[in-house]
Symmetry: C2
């Protein structure tokens, strides 16, 4: 299916930005119950239109109705989690220091909170047309923080983007939110203009390293730079110890194959590089499961057609061999493939061997000593996740130190595909995994779109409601250094 490409003009963008700017003070001033009700109204509207949206999404992304229906649930659950976060109130970081006339110099009264930064730009992703797109995590957390959002539609699913934006924008207005709360722009030029627009105060992005870097540079190059929260790419290293192979090699091999082929290898948390002990027979076990694995069509014909060239790029390295291919692919589908190399090659040519490769492929890296393993791990770029499969008998302190430095989520069981949307989730890591010290999934993603303001010696009548003593009694806050739960 092809859709005519729509491009938002500069004049249209200016109008949308003006509406967002006008909506911003309303969102910022909305109390917790109101803002939470707006988020839930958006979630309810998406659920009510799930059948229609899944059908459009499947036609545009080929991800399949089952997966896409699950993603709608994840997306509406995410909006509802942020409604809860807003109601709970910790995200405001309410902090009061009472005046102290006896201090030298005397201290004024200070009451601090976080407030929305203003209109936010969100660049949606190709591989999660719901959860990381128009009404995804960036949008949900930006709205929850009290900011209108302008989304740049992904060119891979324009009809879905338009329909989702229309449904959510209408639901917000119906629930009482101002016009201008959510808008959509389309086309690359409009996206570039969006991140540079004076009204926009922060941006969220999920996508490629190249595209993300270009937008990051535009955001940083503004006369008034703004924070750009991008998730750009991740190889998600896995380390398996000899003891783990001995104890549960078969289960590990099966789990790995399931994870790197999940969703045809198009998850940002796909395990792309797996450090395995040399001579332990683990490659053969992986080959056994991978040979029976199925691929499928990738998001678009162009991405599917490009998949083999990424493999060829890896195979061009003299150290790389093919462990196995998966089941033969239908025409227009990607066939799973497992490659292998050795730790010394990775340590010396990381820019060749450790580039993220979209699709059902993983690279096994043989190591024969701790020193080899550590040298190769140090060459791994910042990642969203790192996974360690070890046994209690292993001394993994040194490996764990490196993995914790390289990734935002460290797993000790299971596989990195699958990102629970919870209070503690961390979906972000050192460059190039993300461009900031924040997460794009989970409750604390809201912090990206908030800025602190402290009120000094304010008359109670001029304080925001949440900073008055009556509100503090029921909200989490810190007073004179002491944390109170508000319960």
């Amino acid at each position: 299916m092809t859709t005519a490409i729509t491009t938002t003009s500069t004049t249209e963008l200016d109008a949308l930005a003006a509406a967002a700017a006008a909506a911003a003070p309303v969102w910022r001033a909305a109390d917790a119950a109101t803002r939470a009700s707006w988020l839930r109204a958006a979630a309810d509207a998406l659920d009510a239109h799930a059948d229609e949206l899944v059908e459009i999404a499947d036609a545009e992304t080929r991800l399949g109705a089952t997966r896409l229906r699950g993603e709608v649930g994840r997306t509406t659950g995410q909006l509802r989690l942020f409604a809860t976060v807003v109601e709970e109130g910790s995200y405001l970081e309410l902090t009061v220091d009472d005046a102290d006339a006896s201090a030298a110099p005397p201290r004024p009264e200070l009451r601090r909170m976080l407030v929305g930064v203003g209109p936010v730009a969100v660049f949606s992703a190709s591989n999660f047309p719901f959860a990381f797109s128009v009404a995804g995590g960036d949008t949900a957390s930006a709205l929850a923080a009290g900011n209108p959002v302008i989304v740049k539609a992904h060119s891979g699913h324009p009809r879905l983007s338009e329909r989702t934006a229309a449904i959510v924008a209408a639901a917000l207005v119906d629930a009482g939110a101002p016009e201008g709360s959510l808008a959509l722009v389309e086309g690359r030029e409009a996206g570039n203009a969006l991140v540079q627009h004076p009204v926009i105060q922060a941006a969220g992005f999920t996508g490629s390293l190249g595209g993300g870097r270009a937008l990051f540079d535009l955001a940083a190059g503004r006369p008034d730079p703004i924070p750009f929260y991008g998730e750009l790419g991740s190889v998600n290293p896995v380390v398996i110890t000899p003891a783990a192979v001995a104890a549960r090699g078969e289960a590990l091999a099966q789990g790995l194959v399931g994870s790197f082929t999940l969703g045809v290898g198009q998850f940002c948390t796909k395990p792309g590089v797996v450090f395995v002990p040399d001579g332990a027979g683990f490659e053969d076990r992986v080959a056994g499961f991978a040979a029976g694995s199925s691929g499928g069509p990738l998001l678009t014909d162009r991405i599917t057609a490009a998949f083999p060239s990424g493999i060829e790029h890896l195979e061009a390295d003299a150290s790389v061999t093919v462990v196995t291919h998966g089941l033969p692919a239908e025409p227009g589908s990607a066939q799973p493939v497992v490659l292998s190399t050795d730790a010394a090659a990775v340590a010396s040519r990381p820019e060749t061997l450790l580039e993220e490769c979209f699709g059902p492929v993983t690279l096994l890296v043989r190591y024969s000593s701790d020193d080899e393993l550590h040298a190769a791990l140090e060459a791994v770029p910042g990642s969203l996740t790192a996974t360690l499969h070890s046994e209690p008998s292993d001394d993994v302190a040194a490996v764990l130190e490196v993995l914790t430095r390289k990734a935002g989520r460290v797993l000790f069981a299971g596989w990195p595909t699958g990102v629970a949307v919870t209070w503690s989730q961390q979906h972000g890591g050192p460059w190039p995994a993300t461009t900031s010290l924040h997460t794009s999934v989970g409750a604390t993603a809201i912090r990206r779109f908030l800025r602190p303001v402290v009120f000094q010696d304010a008359p109670e009548a001029l304080l925001p409601e949440v900073l008055r003593d009556a509100s503090l009694a029921t909200l989490p806050h810190r007073r004179n250094g002491v944390l109170h739960t508000g319960r």
Copy 2:
């Protein structure tokens, strides 16, 4: 006094960076009591050498022994506050979600905390040779977060920088911290290399808009961009209503003169632009106090010599008149001056009239209607502070909305000079006040140098000590969405 300019070579910087990289895991792993003891050891050493340090600082900055001694106290108090912050533990943002096998999909156990980002670069300021320099707030918060620091000395006080660094570095090592915990580099080229050095993971800066922007661009232009937390400049708007002039005009005029001439007008929170009601006689009252005010030498001969050109730049605007000068200046001193203009001029030429002007000068801006005031306020650049002097009879909602959007600290009494170092302080604001959504003063400054890591399904033995259940019992944390104080 002149001091030969020392420049740290690339080879020297590499060695210092390697030492910082080696120290980083030790700082990151140090428990709260240990890290707090290191911060207090640094504070104690500075206090013990206060006489010597104040003498060097006075010779290099001409700020006077009394002010400088107070600044030493502020600096050591700041180090001790961060020791308390480390011990209290909220800064770790400990968050646990227990596993939930009944969820769809099943949820793993997640345990999240913040950890140090790694070695931090700190660029020290000219106007606070202690509190915003080698052992100032950026350094204290970076160390508290568990990171070694490399400071770029300010060229305005090289001997003080060297001596402070030597004292603190020795105190840290004597207290058990690793070599490489604190180092100093000198020279502009070394500073540029520092912010681009692969070992450096974040940078703090206090200084000029031009210098800060150049370093920000270097940080953002790295192959792996790093966060750059800069405080670049602020005009600190003040709004005075007609009712406030009527009720307490004399006290306000006296307070304003005291604030804009404090420290010879060299505070980053100096009230630089003051919106006053036209025809209320406030200018005459300010003139009365300002005519008797004294100036003094600015930080260096070069800055003192440049002061009149900043005034001339403002006076060149046809709307600007001189309200009064202060007492005649000694040779080599800056004479206070009060200028005035009108709100319409400010709204139409903000880039000329609202540029930060270092030294004892302030600009009174007459307004004759709310519309005029609002239009001019919208033109004010992001600032560290905004001050509103009003009376209960005033309707200030619209003014307050703008001021809260423009500044990180909003005052309702007193004057913005003077920044209490407390849990709630916010010293930061929209660009160009600062380059980030964070503060450089107060307890939460520590967040700038931390990154989140979540551990999924970790065996207890492999968890960091603070994330084990036994630690959580006594530390602030969130579990399954519920906040606990740990008391």
